[in-house]
């Protein structure tokens, strides 16, 4: 494929054939080797062909092949002439990351680490097919779908301040449960307040290095060694079913003939199907916000019980990395409402944007980029430059390079646990096969991903954190 180098970290697929706009890839030469190996670039090109696309079809440094849209893809559409696509959001709607700070130093938790992890494992259900302890009625579930993390806080899970430190305030306002199928509700009822499996995890981490002291301070991070807690999960079966339902419904309504990939199925944003999906997706987003809100609350409770307090356990932020949202962006010098799809990409708004909470408005939105199991994760700050470069978006993690099948063949979960232990990281899981699938060797180098992000200006490096305790679903 024709890929033009713009600079060391920027590449372009010029608009050709049915492409309405060019595609732009933010990647180093090294990461590009992985990106070129699968269907990522073809998928980015396909996205560039969709009606009403604005700017460019963007590919983030951690991108890999997805369904329809690449994972690590960002695309914005005109709300009148453009489309919305479930494949541009992904199956795990509002898969995201929440980061809590603490006043504890590593030394404070070292002795209690095993107990902390054991208690968290008991409080937070995780693993394949693991149901939650919270028994919901349909009426309550519907309330959660409308009110998201607000519902959780009102019901005693966490604090009001958590909400303003969550993307969208923890609640997508346009959500509706009218078009959530019975199947989605049935899948959602037993799974609220659960972590799930796959690449989802909960980590006790410590700050290893601070790159930007002023931004770190604004985010509540003072020194290396400070303990943090990271929660990575999404909307569970409810979100997966919403995606499945609307891929079917849009295919039935608009047909799939002519689509290079059936997963690119879409609907005009203003159409009945487009609006129904947008509101149902919002409901799944809210479910995921409530989910992470509850899990964060249980983590605080465990810290309080084991360490005799939950000192300084404020929420730094909570980001979605699979979502479509209506946002204002500059297009051709004029502010315009756009339907921005971020699939495996994190919003990265700079200082001054009204969406950034007041406490962070001077430094930019906290951007949380989780690494793979047992590797570093990063905290970045959103930039003004990103708004022009990628509609205010950056990477979402490390991105896979090896199949689960291959990882299973090469690695043993128990061996990974022992190796991590030698590096001072305690790993707990009930599913060693799942651990093997998530071996860090199966992922791209997250250090390189954030380096590119910082160099390009998609997100500014603030701090590097490393795990000391990992709970794997």
């Amino acid at each position: 494929m024709d890929l033009r180098k713009i600079d060391d970290n920027t590449w372009e697929i010029p608009a050709q054939g049915e492409m309405r706009v060019p595609a732009v890839v933010y990647s180093s030469a090294r990461l590009l080797e992985d990106i070129r190996r699968d269907q990522t670039l073809v998928q980015a090109r396909n996205v560039a062909c969709l009606p009403g696309i604005q700017g460019r079809s963007y590919v983030m440094p951690d991108a890999h092949q997805g369904y329809g849209f690449p994972i690590g893809g960002v695309a914005a559409f005109d709300p009148d002439e453009g489309v919305i696509s479930p494949g541009g959001v992904g199956y795990d709607i509002n898969c995201g990351v929440r980061l809590l700070r603490t006043d504890y130093a590593e030394a404070d938790v070292t002795a209690a680490r095993t107990k902390l992890l054991a208690e968290i494992c008991r409080e937070v259900p995780a693993g394949v097919g693991k149901g939650g302890v919270t028994k919901l009625s349909r009426a309550v579930l519907k309330d959660i779908l409308i009110r998201g993390a607000e519902w959780a806080v009102e019901n005693g899970y966490g604090r009001k301040e958590d909400l303003e430190r969550t993307e969208e305030g923890g609640r997508m306002k346009d959500a509706s449960f009218e078009d959530i199928s019975d199947r989605a509700l049935e899948r959602g009822i037993p799974q609220l307040g659960t972590l799930g499996a796959g690449n989802h995890f909960l980590e006790i981490q410590k700050v290893q290095e601070i790159y930007d002291e002023a931004a770190a301070r604004a985010f509540g991070i003072g020194t290396a060694g400070q303990v943090l807690v990271m929660i990575h999960c999404g909307s569970r079966g409810l979100g997966h079913q919403v995606a499945t339902d609307f891929i079917e419904a849009m295919g039935d309504a608009f047909g799939v003939a002519g689509l290079p990939d059936r997963e690119l199925v879409n609907a005009p944003f203003g159409s009945a199907e487009g609006q129904r999906y947008y509101r149902a997706m919002g409901a799944a987003v809210n479910y995921a916000f409530a989910n992470r809100q509850m899990i964060a609350h249980w983590v605080r409770e465990v810290f309080a019980r084991v360490l005799g307090g939950a000192r300084g356990m404020d929420q730094i932020y909570d980001v979605c990395h699979n979502v479509a949202k209506v946002e204002e962006h500059l297009v051709g010098g004029r502010s315009k409402r756009l339907v921005v799809h971020r699939k495996g990409a994190t919003r990265s708004f700079g200082p001054g944007r009204p969406e950034v909470p007041g406490v962070y408005r001077a430094v930019g939105q906290p951007v949380i980029i989780p690494g793979s199991m047992g590797t570093a994760s990063y905290l970045l700050a959103g930039t003004e430059a990103a708004e022009a470069l990628s509609f205010g978006s950056t990477a979402h993690g490390a991105g896979r390079i090896m199949s689960r099948h291959e990882a299973l063949r090469r690695f043993r979960g128990e061996k990974i646990r022992d190796d991590l232990a030698k590096r001072g990281i305690e790993l707990r899981s009930t599913n060693w096969k799942g651990v093997a699938e998530e071996a860090s060797e199966a992922y791209k180098d997250v250090d390189e991903v954030v380096r590119v992000s910082d160099e390009v200006g998609l997100g500014r490096l603030v701090a590097r954190v490393v795990p000391i305790g990992v709970m794997k679903g």
């Binding site: 699968d38 890999h64 092949q65 997805g66 369904y67 329809g68 994972i71 199956y91 795990d92 693993g127 394949v128 097919g129 199947r183 049935e186 899948r187 037993p190 799974q191 799930g196 499996a197 796959g198 079966g237 997966h240 079913q241 995606a243 499945t244 891929i247 079917e248 295919g251 039935d252 799939v256 990939d261 059936r262 997963e263 896979r400 390079i401 090896m402 199949s403 689960r404 099948h405 291959e406 599913n431 096969k433 799942g434 699938e437 679903g473």
Partner: protein, 150 residues
């Protein structure tokens, strides 16, 4: 040693293929029905060992699709749905029938298996069945190829 999904006595039911982020497989059958049934077992194999599941419960499933691809996606979706909402582990597919209908196709099958118990090892989380690289091919019997989101 027999390959995954193969027993020495019968022909290969399915083969798990490498895919960067997710689960991909091909399932085989002398008929479309047999290939669909084996695809259901292949889907189960990404989450549990279906051959170790006892046959204690039966679920009758009926799905319709505008084309064979949609029919397959919806049928395999039943495996995930029954697992997540009924804790049902698929161990066997019986009486699978595909019929053309006024618009598209309908499928009926009896899914046999049991409810999750502590002795079962669950190791993979299949979130959804996708259309990505989905193929249904007829050549010396039927081959279906499916990628699932994990």
């Amino acid at each position: 040693m027999a390959a995954e999904g193969e027993t020495p006595m019968d022909r290969e039911r399915y083969r798990i293929l490498p895919h960067t982020a997710d689960g991909k497989f091909q399932a085989f059958g002398r008929t479309l029905e047999e290939a669909f049934g084996n695809a259901a077992l292949a889907t189960a194999s990404l989450m549990w060992d279906w051959s170790a599941v006892e046959l204690k419960v039966r679920h009758f499933v009926h799905v319709t699709g505008l084309d064979r691809e949609q029919l397959l996606v919806k049928f395999l979706g039943e495996v995930i749905y029954l697992f997540e909402t009924r804790q049902f582990l698929l161990g066997r597919v019986d009486g699978l029938r595909v019929r053309p209908q006024f618009e598209g196709f309908s499928l009926e099958a009896v899914l046999g298996g049991e409810t999750v118990a502590p002795r079962h090892e669950l190791y993979g989380d299949v979130k959804a069945i996708t259309y990505h690289e989905l193929k249904i091919e007829e050549c010396d019997g039927f081959t279906v190829q499916v990628v699932v989101d994990m």
